[in-house]
Every structure is written in C-alpha cells, then in structure tokens.
Symmetry: C2
Subunit: 280 residues, 2 copies
C-alpha cells in the first residue's frame, strides 16, 4: 500500500491509474477505523481494481465547541488495517494542503443540510460536502463508498453528486453493529463503560419503532413519543432529535410508509453525540 | 459542428473524446456572440483538438428584477458563427436539465463574491460558480476560456477551481473593444444610439485613470473621485461602483502599484448595466 500525503501527488497518481484503465474506488474516512469502515473498504477492494482510502479529520465539518480536538486518531493502527485489507492507496492530506491560507470555496446542499444533524450542527454538511467534493476531484473515483449510519450525509452527497453532474457512483452500505446492537462509530471509543451501556438506548428506541410498525402503528408522532420516552428513562442520555422522514428527501412523514421511511435519532451520552437509524 | 442539448449525451461524448486522447477546450457563454467571445473561441480552437462552446443564459446568476428575460438571444446566428469558427460541439442545455425540480446544490467563493458586482448583484457569483462547476463536470475540459471584461468572475472562477482541486486550466483573454473603446458586451445591443454614446463614459473614465497614473498619481481615492466626476457629467449614466483593487484578491488598494492593480467600474446606462476595467 502506498501512503500519499500531498494532494498534487495523489492527483498525478490517480490520472495515471485512470489512464491505465483502472476502476477507482474511494472510501473517505476520518480514520480510527472499525468494522463499519472495513465493510466499505472490503466492498471497494472487491469491486474495483484500485482502492483509495482517505483518512482525514476534516476541520470544516466540526463546529466551535464540537469534538474536533478529541476525535480519536490512530494512524499507525489504521495503516496496518488498510494494508491487511488490500487497499492500494492511503491518502492522508494535511490541513495546510486541503485548506491553505485564504481558502474560500464551499458547497452547500440547501434544505437537506438544515434538518436533523444539520439543525444542531450548523455548517456541518457544508464542511462534509466541500471536503468530499475536493476528495472526488483529487482522486477521480468511479465509485465512492459511504455508510448508512450517516444516513443524512449519504442523501446529501448523492444529491450533491447528482446536482453537480458528477460521474461518480455513490454506494451506501448497511450499518454494522456490535453484538448488542450498538452501531459502530469511532466515537464509541470515547464512552466509559457506564456510558457504553446507556448508549444502547438509541438502538433500543429504533427497535421499539420497528416493533410498533410491525404491530400496525403508522402514526409517526405516536412512535416518536414512545421512542423519546424510552430514551428519557436512561440517566445520562440526552435527546438531540428523533425524526421519521422520507428516506430520499428527508421531509417529515406524518405516517410511515413501508419502503420509503427513515427513522433516525441523535443522542448525547455525556459529551459524546451518537447517531443511528433504521429504514422501514 | 455537433449540437448537443442533453447533459447525458454531452457527458458521454466528452468521456469518449477524452479517452481518445483529445485535449478539450471549453468556452462557456450566454450566447449572442460577439468578437469578444470569438477571441476566446479562436484561441480554444487553436490550442485544443476539441472545442466545446456552451450557450446558456443561466437563470441562477440573475437576481429578481434583473435582465434575465430581456437578455439578448439569437441561437441561429450563434450556431452559424460557431460552425464558421471550427467549433466541434455547441452545447445548449435546457433549464429543466440543468436545474431540475428539487435542485439544491450551490457553490460559493466567500468574500470575493461579496464585493464589486457581487455587492449590487447578491447571489450572482453563486450562480456563476455553480453553473461553471456543472459545465466543468459535464464537459471535463483540460482548459476553459473566460474574458477579462468579467475580471471579478475570472478571479472567482480561478479561486474556485484552485480551492476545489480541479484539473482544468483557466485562461483569461484580453478585453475586445469597439473602435471607440467601448468594451464588447452582448448587452450593448440593448442600448439606443444616444445611450450607446453615453456608454463610452466608463471607458473614458478608465483612460483618465491610466493617464493620471502615467502622470505620477498613485492615490486611489483621488483617481476614483476624478473617474466618478467624469461619469457623473454624462446624463443618463448612473454609477454602480468604481474601485481600485488588488487584481488577484480584489482587496481595496489605497495606492496603485504597477502590475498588481485592477481599476474596475460598473455603470447603468438607463436600465442596462455595463462593466469595464483596466489592469495597471
């Protein structure tokens, strides 16, 4: 595996690989890799002749007071995991190269960026879209892989690529969970054992929603209230949002319709903000 | 010359030409072509094996009450001019294809977009950046050509391409003028004979600035005041702005420095807004 730190070097390498006829898969990550990332990476290695994984904790998607500084990092471990997985390139750009002094250009996907995580993290998706557009231009992938855990991010990035007439095909892969159901996240490493226990309440509330749906309940407000009640019972859990929306346009749905509905939530466990979702 | 109206067809054609090893030049225009456009087009035809000219009056760069509806259009004449110039592709996308219902994605180049023309046309450069980024993705040019008359646009688009790590090389070609000095513009066709005469005041004020500089004057405020006085003497001319700025970052310069300075103005002649500039 080749490790590349400079944008210009990455660009040249990808021009070379493209002109050789390679099919390029990109997996953008913030590192501290877990099995969720690995499911994306394995899929890319399987489906493309050249896989690039970027590890970059992107400062423009963190707001003031968020966890940019304490976001977990372990580059040596990541590099080993990626080598073992058969990745061709590990791209580790620097902030100075990605956002040099005087950087001014940002991409926004209106409306979609303002709801759910966007409502509590203003500017977050602007940062995500901007860095992903840059990574697309740098690595020129045929395919890019994202996780369903970040459901809103996936909807927004697909919309961005489509609106901007980009060639890249975006694949969204299922959430990978711990045995007890907790969605894998690099941020789970920031939880103490009690918090780890508490964190399960979000997944449980999603299971509750699925059960209610199976029992015939279609009323979103009712389901949301029961989900919130479940989470509120847990000490140390603080609800950011629980929503039931159309899985494609993120618009609120008063009634759940099978095949179209995303039930998603964000919960603070202490200072750690976790998200999870199910598609009905 | 092949005329293409559908984005998907244009994309496929350009993938084919790129893979054949062609060097692609793009000249984005709003049509109603004049010798200014033609200087860009001839340069592209000379320097590239494949030239694409887009003719698209982009609605997102016009504000409410601006001249989107009355912007001059003559597609038959444009097509004939382009055929004669040896252009390979004329791309004429529709609004429905460029901005389908539910379109949401916009690109902004902060700060640079807020001054000069951006101050009186809020959202204008957001529209310009967005449509040009889309055209870049659709046509995948190696080079793109823009006119120095739109000096601020050129600075912003170069910044956008650079910030977003794009491959395309942006060339900016000199202003083409009528014999009496009026900068060519499709909007000149909207002037009646009296207004056409009045319109010259902007160019004259720029000539005055150059003369003052040659005589040793370096103080920007003094020069701007004398330029404004010249324009104000003309009945029917209404100043939007006159500025003296750094030609690369568009920041105001209190003193002119040779090789670094852009003197630019915008003037309303009746309802028609004209721009012009010189680099010192």
């Amino acid at each position: 595996m080749k490790i590349i730190r400079l944008i210009d070097e990455m660009k040249k390498e990808m021009v070379r690989r493209r002109s050789r006829g390679d099919c390029i898969g990109l997996v953008p990550t913030m590192g501290y890799l877990h099995q969720g990332h690995l499911s994306l990476i394995r899929e890319s290695v399987r489906k493309n002749s050249c896989t690039v994984v970027s590890v970059y904790v992107n400062p423009t998607q963190f707001g003031p007071g968020e966890d940019y500084e304490r976001y977990p990092r372990d580059l040596d471990r990541d590099a080993k995991i990626l080598t073992d997985a058969g990745v061709d390139y590990l791209f580790i750009p620097s902030n100075e190269d990605m956002y040099p002094t005087g950087y001014k250009t940002y991409v926004e996907v209106h409306d979609l960026q303002d709801v759910m995580c966007g409502a509590s993290r203003p500017g977050h998706f602007r940062g995500v879209c901007t860095v992903v557009l840059k990574l697309f231009h740098i690595t020129k992938p045929h395919k890019a892989y994202f996780g369903q855990k970040d459901a809103q991010q996936a909807v927004i990035l697909k919309k961005m690529a489509d609106d901007l007439n980009m060639e890249v095909k975006i694949s969204v892969l299922p959430i990978v969970r711990e045995r007890d159901g907790l969605a894998l996240s690099s941020r789970n490493s920031l939880l103490n054992p009690d918090q780890r226990e508490t964190a399960l309440c979000l997944y449980q509330s999603l299971q509750l929603a699925e059960k209610l749906f199976e029992q015939g309940e279609r009323n979103s407000s009712k389901i949301i209230n029961l989900m919130k009640n479940h989470i509120k019972k847990k000490k140390g859990a603080h609800i950011d949002y629980v929503v039931i929306v159309n899985k494609n346009n993120l618009e609120s749905m008063a009634k759940i319709r099978k095949g179209e509905t995303l039930i998603a939530g964000a919960v603070y466990i202490g200072k750690v903000r976790l998200i999870d979702n199910v598609v009905i």
